[in-house]
Point group: C2
Chain length 156, copies 2
């Protein structure tokens, strides 16, 4: 159960975009952390498809947040890159077992599936309750100059 590397990149990039406000090209974001520019571009495209970011082509173009930082949750970013499906997949193997009913809706009735889903709901709830603005507040409380440093590095 491994999460794609792009999630970490996208989260940091979204936070940086929240601090700049203006469009920033993927190549400049990649240069900040020594990341593969083209691959990071691919991840940001997924954020655009999910409606989290907007892309501006041409010179002075790049990516910017499509919504205020307080309206973008960490769950939004994770779902945009990893997809909406649950990590645990119930394939209704009980249907083939003794007393199994091929027509039953096992993903919604099997006790194991429900237990796993409950755990993932708790995970999603935590991520949904945390917005980019919340994370930004935490960072600036610990390192007040972080936003200015990033803004200078990205808009130079």
């Amino acid at each position: 159960m491994r999460m794609g590397q792009g999630v970490e990149w996208a989260l940091h990039c979204c936070l940086n975009l929240a601090w700049t406000g203006t469009p920033v090209p993927a190549s400049r974001l990649a240069a900040l952390y020594d990341l593969p520019p083209a691959y990071l571009n691919k991840q940001l495209q997924a954020l655009v498809r999910a409606g989290l970011c907007e892309s501006v082509p041409g010179p002075r173009g790049g990516f910017r947040l499509a919504r205020p930082p307080g309206e973008v949750s960490l769950l939004d970013v994770v779902v945009a890159l990893e997809g909406p499906e649950d990590a645990f997949r119930c394939t209704s193997i009980l249907a083939a077992g003794p007393g199994g009913d091929p027509g039953a809706d096992y993903p919604d009735t099997c006790a194991i599936s429900l237990s796993m889903r409950r755990a993932e709901l708790a995970w999603r709830r935590e991520l949904a309750a945390r917005s980019l603005a919340d994370v930004s507040d935490d960072v600036l409380r610990h390192t007040p100059g972080a936003a200015d440093r990033v803004r200078d590095a990205l808009t130079a």
Copy 2:
């Protein structure tokens, strides 16, 4: 972020082993749900390595639970198959950014890493709080004859 298919198989098998008590060969467990016998055997080996199951070789052999069902949590099974690492991996990309400190412990200080870890802790807490005995109770409350049917099918 996809969980291995073996987790579902292992969870159902552990529940069935809790109902039988006696060793059951992997081939018989696989026949219950039309699963690949050798591959299921592989998953059960992981449970043995984790100390959740015990294996008995030779005729009348198979796998049995190493501990009482109340002492085996769903988290134990998931960790045995998926590993103890978190799904989200902090690679300390901040160290390469502006104001980054190569010696800092970013996995334990970065606000993004901490937020992701908090969510995974909530997930783990839910899984750790649910034992095989709890799941068994839920199943038998809804389908009282399930344990007997499985026992008959596996020990026939």
